[in-house]
């Protein structure tokens, strides 16, 4: 194949995988036109029609860290192993041909380069900073081995998914929706029709309702900062920070696809350096850094003297050792040993869990959960009520950005089991609606704040919590009684009580309680099925 074609093929592949990634991301929600073929069977499960976890399976770092930490193979682990195998033969081909985050950086970095001329050459020289990614990889893997898996915080696929799903799309969505609402509420027929029409068109991508996520501003800001780093050094993330890039770099040692250099032909024009994506020292007088090379084939493509050529080595011979650096390695080991311990210092696992830490239905016990959860945000994206949100401090330092339910924003719908069905690593187990009800899978329990409750406090009759309670028989029951009103008269009301045996902690009572800001009935994690100690009743 001619090289010109190979570079073109790379661009096509990059575009295709980025589009496919975004397509699957957008499809990670219940579609509007979903229906069941037979409506008459009870407790059927609604499922997504697309393989939305595909990119998480393709990512060997997610598969590897889950295997090391949670001791279980994720479904579709084979895809990740295939990528590793591919890397063994062809180097970091994933970084330049497949990785959607890499493509984004590639595009941002070359759309309008911030640096020109000699500065462009300089910024593409290899630096010691590129060892940071090995430090991060070591820290993440060691920490995962010791039971705290936060690989997903820095894994490119998880990071990209989280950023786009929780920050970019909701941000654009909220902006556009405020325009449509203004149009839709207008008295002018033309404007209101335009409003509905635009929303119909727009909603399948940006969500059927306003989506908002706790700490999403920080997720979005971090994303912007990471993109901005391309102005300092092209593909800063891929070169310096990406732990997946580091893992693939290690495997590239064995690659049989090598860059052959002909220094005698080189005129030191530096075009190869100007276009190098990985800062992998492509110039013929330098030693090619296989572990840093993204296999973008730019250098050979731009070389006017044919001084560079990629080719398969006939005999297997190891490539140069990746420049990891002792300090990065030792630092990574130290950090990797420290994080799991630091993560337990706040006592969230050993002492008392946070009452607000209500995990999605089917979540594993906390310690096990933290070995698998990648904080990718897929469960949060698919949750139809927007209840599942990233944690801030609820799960302690070790559980930052893991999923939990905020019942004032949404609630867990009684027969919905979508989050577990999409979790890429099984941190949330796939359960069926039938199991969820029959076991039952409890995520917490509700309690009444009688001082705020309308009937209990003598303010007004109300039964909204009981009305919405989905269990049968209801976990919230009513007792007709008289309460004293402010005028001294007795008012007949129905007073709600919670039956903890029946309550599953779904939180719809808290969500629908007419007492706003701080509802009069609230949900806490106590009573969750996944914990043997966080219980109320014997």
């Amino acid at each position: 194949m001619k090289l010109k074609h190979l570079v073109r093929l790379r661009r096509i592949s990059q575009a295709a995988f980025l589009i496919f990634f975004l397509f699957l991301l957008v499809e990670s929600r219940l579609p509007q036109n979903i229906y069941l073929e037979t409506a008459l069977a009870p407790e059927q499960d609604l499922r997504l029609g697309r393989p939305v976890t595909f990119f998480f399976q393709l990512d060997p770092l997610i598969g590897l860290s889950s295997l090391l930490s949670g001791h279980r193979p994720i479904s579709g682990l084979g895809w990740g192993l295939a990528i590793l195998l591919l890397t063994l033969f062809l180097g970091r081909i994933f970084c330049s041909f497949i990785c959607p985050f890499g493509t984004l950086h590639h595009a941002v970095g070359s759309a309008r380069p911030a640096l020109r001329g000699s500065r462009q050459v300089q910024c593409n020289q290899k630096t010691a900073g590129q060892r940071i990614k090995y430090f991060l990889l070591t820290a993440l893997i060691v920490s995962a081995l010791l039971g705290l898996n936060f690989t997903g915080l820095l894994d490119p696929i998880a990071l990209l998914f989280r950023s786009i799903a929780l920050a970019v799309i909701p941000g654009l969505g909220a902006g556009a929706r405020s325009i449509f609402n203004a149009l839709g509420g207008s008295r002018s027929v033309l404007l209101s029709r335009t409003g509905y029409g635009a929303e119909e068109f727009f909603a399948p991508v940006f969500g059927y309702h306003i989506q908002a996520y706790q700490t999403a501003w920080f997720i979005g800001l971090l994303f912007l900062v990471i993109l901005f780093l391309n102005r300092i050094r092209p593909r800063f993330w891929c070169r310096v920070l990406c732990p997946l890039g580091a893992l693939l770099g290690l495997c590239a040692r064995f690659s049989i696809l090598k860059l052959k250099k002909y220094p005698e032909k080189c005129t030191q024009c530096n075009l190869c350096l100007k276009h190098c994506q990985g800062a992998a020292s492509p110039r013929p007088d330098q030693t090619w850094e296989t572990a840093e090379c993204h296999m973008c084939f730019n250098c050979e493509h731009v070389c006017p003297e044919e001084a560079l050529a990629f080719g398969f080595a006939p005999r297997p011979k190891l490539n140069p050792r990746p420049d990891i650096g002792k300090r990065a390695l030792l630092g990574g080991l130290a950090a990797g040993f420290s994080f799991p311990l630091l993560g337990r210092l706040d006592g969230r696992i050993d002492k008392a869990p946070d009452p607000r830490l209500i995990r999605p239905p089917g979540s594993l016990a906390e310690q096990q959960f933290l070995t698998l959860c990648q904080r990718c945000g897929l469960c949060m994206k698919v949750c139809p009520t927007n209840a599942i949100n990233p944690t801030l401090a609820e799960a302690g330092m070790g559980g930052f950005w893991t999923p939990h339910l905020i019942m004032t924003r949404g609630y867990c719908e009684y027969t919905c089991t979508l989050c577990g069905s999409v979790c890429p690593t099984g941190a949330i187990e796939p359960i069926t609606a039938r199991e969820k009800i029959a076991r039952p899978v409890k995520i917490g329990s509700a309690y009444l704040d009688r001082g705020r409750c309308l009937p209990w406090s003598g303010n007004a009759p109300c039964i909204v919590c009981q009305e919405h309670c989905p269990t049968s028989p209801k976990a919230i029951y009513l007792k007709t009684d008289f309460v004293l009103r402010s005028d001294g008269k007795n008012m007949q009301v129905q007073l709600p009580y919670v039956d903890l045996k029946r309550c599953v902690g779904c939180g719809i009572c808290e969500n629908k309680c007419p007492v706003r800001s701080l509802p009069a009935i609230r949900t806490v994690s106590a009573g969750e099925s996944r914990s043997s100690s966080n219980q109320i009743l014997i």
Binding site: A39, G184, E200, E413, P461, T471
Partner: protein
């Protein structure tokens, strides 16, 4: 000819309704003179209450629905050729049909098909559900019905809620689910079931699913709220699905043990009479329901069965 593509103002809709009802009465009388006595519209001005009961095991729900409408003069008495019909079922909960928490999909399908046979230009299904609308529409079977019949399922969206003056005793400006006020003909298609506050939820209470906003605060004066909403939303007819009724643990249910088969449909052009008729299936006297009493007092209709043209058809 009216322009159906724009919302009606209140005055216009009243005028149209007035014209239409006059025309219909005349047509009804004329047709009645010509046709069989069953479909005759005997007493102009007198409201009707039809109770259709399926007695044969395995009866066809569509035939039962058709019979109910035929007893009231046929569907074309209510739906004219070219109408945009909006059906307001009760699809509040993502519950399978046999739990009786939502309108039976076969009844919904039958009504849609009858409207289409009568020449409706478009049939739309609109409900501002409590559970997530996508899940409600899928699980209750309404999604499948929409797909099979070609009716349009309108998903409640924020851009479809418009602040409108309900002009009620209790309720003033409130966000209203717009498609319900933009219809030529509005059919209220609730399910009959138990409710812990209003004791039953039937036709008039179904309008809580036609508004948005902080509607859970309506429960602080549920009877007045229901009557205010019924004053605002004027359906052409109310058809109450009592094929099976939820007798306890309402309004969401969740167990077939809460459900009793009644094989009944209640059809009326008087919203109060429809609710009163359905209440009897639960063994309740209409005057035991606060909102029914208040609605009659407010002049929205009557639960005095003797003043109604009352019919019972069997299948």
């Amino acid at each position: 000819m009216m322009n159906f593509n724009r919302p009606l103002t209140r005055r216009e809709s009243l005028r149209t309704l007035f014209n239409l009802s006059g025309a219909l009465t005349l047509t009804g009388a004329a047709v009645g003179a010509l046709k069989s006595p069953l479909s005759a519209w005997s007493a102009p001005g007198k409201k009707f209450l039809v109770e259709a009961v399926g007695q044969v095991p395995g009866y066809n729900i569509k035939s039962l629905t058709r019979k109910a409408f035929d007893a009231a003069g046929g569907i074309s008495r209510f739906i004219a050729r070219g109408d945009v019909v909006v059906i307001k079922p009760n699809l509040s909960w993502a519950r399978a049909p046999q739990f009786g928490a939502t309108t039976h999909p076969e009844v919904l399908q039958a009504v849609i098909e009858l409207c289409q046979e009568a020449g409706a230009r478009r049939v739309r299904i609109a409900d501002n559900t409590i559970h997530d609308a996508r899940r409600c529409f899928a699980v209750t079977g309404a999604g499948l019905v929409a797909k099979n019949t070609g009716a349009e399922l309108i998903h409640p969206r924020s851009s479809m809620m418009r602040e409108m003056d309900l002009k009620g005793n209790l309720l003033g400006s409130w966000p209203v689910f717009v498609p319900l006020v933009e219809a030529d003909k509005l059919i209220n298609l609730p399910v009959a079931k138990h409710h812990s506050l209003s004791s039953l939820t039937l036709g008039m209470k179904n309008w809580i699913g036609a508004v948005d906003g902080s509607r859970w605060s309506l429960h602080q004066d549920i009877d007045e709220s229901i009557v205010d909403l019924s004053r605002f939303f004027k359906p052409t007819v109310t058809l109450i699905d009592a094929i099976r009724i939820m007798t306890r643990n309402g309004p969401s249910g969740g167990s077939t043990a809460d459900v009793a088969p009644k094989h009944t449909l209640i059809l009326s052009d008087d919203p109060v009479a429809a609710d009163a008729g359905a209440a009897q299936l639960f063994g309740r006297r209409p005057d035991q329901l606060g909102f029914v009493r208040l609605a009659q007092k407010s002049g929205l209709g009557t639960y005095d069965f003797s003043t109604l043209d009352r019919r019972r058809v069997l299948l």
